[in-house]
């Protein structure tokens, strides 16, 4: 393979297309042909690069030269001068507005990154997380310096308000308002807390953010402390994340020795220090009042709000709690301005969101997309669609607190309101793709099993309600469902949503209610016809041997319970009373003579 000399990335966003980006591509290809450079140049189309005002955009790598407002006529000059002659065309280079550049440097030429925009994870994989100099080289702690030297605490808060940033832990409360409430409380003993008790099964964005770029979180917290008037910050992190804890310790030590933590930070009058506190494996501690109890050394149980932690939090003092991802956005908001930040996203949800994409999808992993991206874009364009030619069935967002959305919701834009309207939630950002081989009743059972075992037991609706729901679902998946079960689940679910004390209970019925709403027929099949169309509920499966059985005896030998009988070279039979539905006969049969239904 010949080595490509240049990579040219052309923005394929809607604005750029309107401004002739397609024609530009043609002109570019022709010009390359003319200079015999086609073999040595790669052309990539990227998703919207967000520089619409300067569009159409064309980026040449290596060198990271950004051309703006190019026309098809310019292609000849760019190819001749830059790609053939090595001399960039100065008059077309975008000089100002380099704000966005920081967020696109290494991306744009890989499909997976094409639709992504990395703000929270901007440095992950790029810098050495254990080296503070690396962080400083990507404008690290510049936002802190700016806040301390050029801004009053009120100005910092006003900038956060202007950005439209909302809590990334799940509930989506406006971050600026939370800061404002805490700042306005009297007293000089206040706390800021970073909630890194990430516990959703399958979600790991907070761990990645800390492991890849711990200083960003610290910088956000120090700025937060300055804004609300706190002198002490606490990072509450799961004990199950040893690498993240280790990197935070290294980062805190480095920040202290650089005068970025401790007394009189950067020569200002502001003093602030940070401490790490470990969780001990309790999902409910992600709830803010439970988390505070845990830091105080007690059982992590929530309490009714109000008072909110911004009024009475840790040790009864005003406390500002934000999630890892929220904190990681703060340096960007302060450095580049709330106005800029608010240009990304939708009307009500600004900025980007990180999702942990998993399940039946080609590309799994962390993806960070601007708010307003559709579920379809994530599942198909970034995720690469469903593997093995299987059919898409649903996408589950928000982990055990979220819901399952079927195909007709694929064009839902991702923001707090749209997801809620569709019957799911943003949550902390788990996203599981489900194909036709997954049983919706079973997946609801999986999630309620989790919330049931994690219920702290303080309030009755959650403690007893989740248990009853699990019992009913277990019965249904074992073929003992009764008419009226669905209605009972709906009634219970609504009651638990309304009457539970904290977010865990209030959202626990979501996976069940959303699957009943969108996949009611699967529940009905399980109950009335004792049938599981996905073939996942083993107790509902019936294995039978078909007429094309040649009597080889393979299934008979494989059966662990001796349920298969038959003479050699004659059709075998499964004794249904003995069969435990393990599926071994189905696996070993070379003649497709065992049916599973």
């Amino acid at each position: 393979m010949t080595r490509k000399t240049y990579k040219v990335t052309l923005c394929d966003g809607p604005t750029c297309i309107r401004n002739q980006s397609r024609e530009i591509r043609q002109a570019l290809e022709q010009a390359l042909e003319k200079h015999s450079l086609s073999q040595r140049t790669e052309i990539h189309l990227s998703g919207c690069l967000g520089m619409c005002s300067k569009g159409p955009i064309l980026i040449v790598n290596p060198g990271y030269v950004i051309y703006g407002q190019v026309t098809p006529e310019d292609m000849g000059e760019i190819v001749e001068s830059h790609l053939a002659g090595g001399q960039p065309v100065a008059r077309l280079i975008v000089k100002e507005d380099h704000l966005y550049n920081r967020f696109f440097r290494i991306f744009g030429d890989v499909d997976f990154f094409g639709k992504q925009m990395r703000i929270t994870l901007r440095n992950c994989g790029i810098i050495d997380p254990e080296n503070i100099d690396d962080y400083l080289s990507v404008r690290g702690y510049e936002a802190l310096a700016k806040a301390l030297t050029e801004m009053t605490p009120e100005q910092v808060i006003s900038e956060v308000k202007k950005s439209g940033l909302r809590g990334r832990g799940g509930a989506g409360f406006p971050t600026g308002l939370k800061w404002d409430f805490t700042a306005k409380q009297p007293g000089d003993e206040k706390y800021v807390i970073c909630n890194a008790d990430e516990g959703d099964p399958g979600a790991f964005m907070d761990r990645s953010a800390i492991e890849g770029d711990p200083h960003t979180v610290l910088e956000g917290m120090i700025i937060g402390g300055y804004a609300v008037g706190a002198r002490k910050g606490i990072l509450y992190i799961r004990a199950e994340y040893p690498l993240a804890i280790q990197r935070l310790e290294i980062a805190i030590e480095a920040a202290r020795s650089h005068g970025l933590l401790g007394e009189r930070i950067l020569g200002s009058d502001f003093s602030f220090d940070l401490e790490i506190r470990l969780g001990a494996g309790a999902f409910v501690c992600g709830e803010e009042t439970a988390l505070i109890h845990s830091i105080e050394g007690s059982r992590g149980m929530p309490r009714p709000r109000p008072p909110y932690p911004s009024v009475s939090g840790l040790f009864g003092k005003p406390t500002l709690i934000n999630n890892v991802e929220t904190w990681a956005n703060i340096p960007v908001v302060v450095l580049d301005g709330g106005a800029w930040f608010s240009t990304i996203g939708t009307e009500t949800s600004k900025g980007t969101k990180v999702f942990a994409l998993a399940g039946k999808v080609q590309n799994t992993g962390l993806v960070e997309v601007p708010m307003g991206t559709t579920l379809r874009e994530i599942v198909y364009d970034i995720g690469g669609g469903i593997p093995g030619g299987k059919k898409f069935k649903a996408v589950q967002t928000g982990g055990p607190s979220g819901g399952c959305l079927p195909e007709e919701y694929l064009d839902t834009q991702i923001d707090y309101e749209s997801l809620a309207k569709a019957g799911s939630i943003m949550g902390s950002g788990g996203m599981i793709v489900i194909d036709e081989d997954t049983c919706m009743v079973n997946i609801a059972k999986f999630f309620i099993e989790f919330t049931q075992s994690e219920s702290c037991g303080k309030c009755t609706p959650c403690r007893e309600g989740t248990k009853r729901m699990l019992e009913i679902l277990t019965r249904i998946t074992q073929g003992q469902g009764k008419p009226g079960d669905i209605e009972k689940l709906e009634r219970l679910g609504e009651m638990i949503q309304k009457a539970s004390l904290c977010g865990l209970g209030q959202s626990a019925p979501n996976p069940i209610l959303s699957t009943i709403k969108n996949f009611r027929e699967e529940y009905e099949e399980h109950i009335h016809q004792k049938k599981c169309r996905a073939g996942e509920c083993r107790a509902l499966l019936k294995y039978t041997i078909l007429d094309n059985c040649v009597g080889c005896g393979a299934c008979k030998r494989a059966c662990p319970v001796g349920a298969i009988d038959g003479t050699r070279k004659e059709k075998h039979v499964i004794n249904q009373d003995l069969c435990i539905q393990c599926g071994q006969c189905f696996e070993v049969c070379k003649f497709n003579a065992v049916s599973k239904a």
């Binding site: 004990a239 199950e240 506190r277 470990l278 969780g279 001990a280 494996g281 309790a282 845990s294 830091i295 105080e296 050394g297 007690s298 059982r299 992590g300 040790f315 702290c456 494989a558 662990p560 319970v561 001796g562 435990i580 393990c582 599926g583 071994q584 696996e587």
Partner: protein, 168 residues
Amino acid sequence: MTETEQKKMEALREYMHAVKDQPHSESNLIGVLHKVQQIYGYLPREVMDEAAEILEIPTAHIWGVATFYHYFNLEPIGKHVVSVCMGTACYVKGAQGVLDALKKELGVDIGGTTADKLFTLQEARCLGACGIAPVIMVDDKIYGELDTKKTIDIINRYRKADAAETEA
């Protein structure tokens, strides 16, 4: 108690005395429990009682906290966890015999840990390996088509590997 354990325990006592006079000293409880578990692998009762005295926190409160969080072990855990699958297929194929053999060989009951702290014995729900029933899982490795003799052989292999490790 080994010498290293004693040293670590001494350090922990110093730590507890140090935090005791700080404001909100009771908030360090979970941190103390983490340190205890790092030393012993679980939370021994007498150490909890000692912590209660030094930190001046009621033992009942400490046990309330220790039992609330999944991360804390209240019983010692061995170096290797041996889970015997008791799913239907394994049961029919003789899992009970395998379990009995393990109980006898290790000298512990279900949930127990051997005196040398090498093995903890557990029952498991179906491990999904019915085709090679009966199976056991040691840590995260599955061994199938077992009988009494094969099972003991596996245990002996782990013992040998561990002895070699200790020598080296």
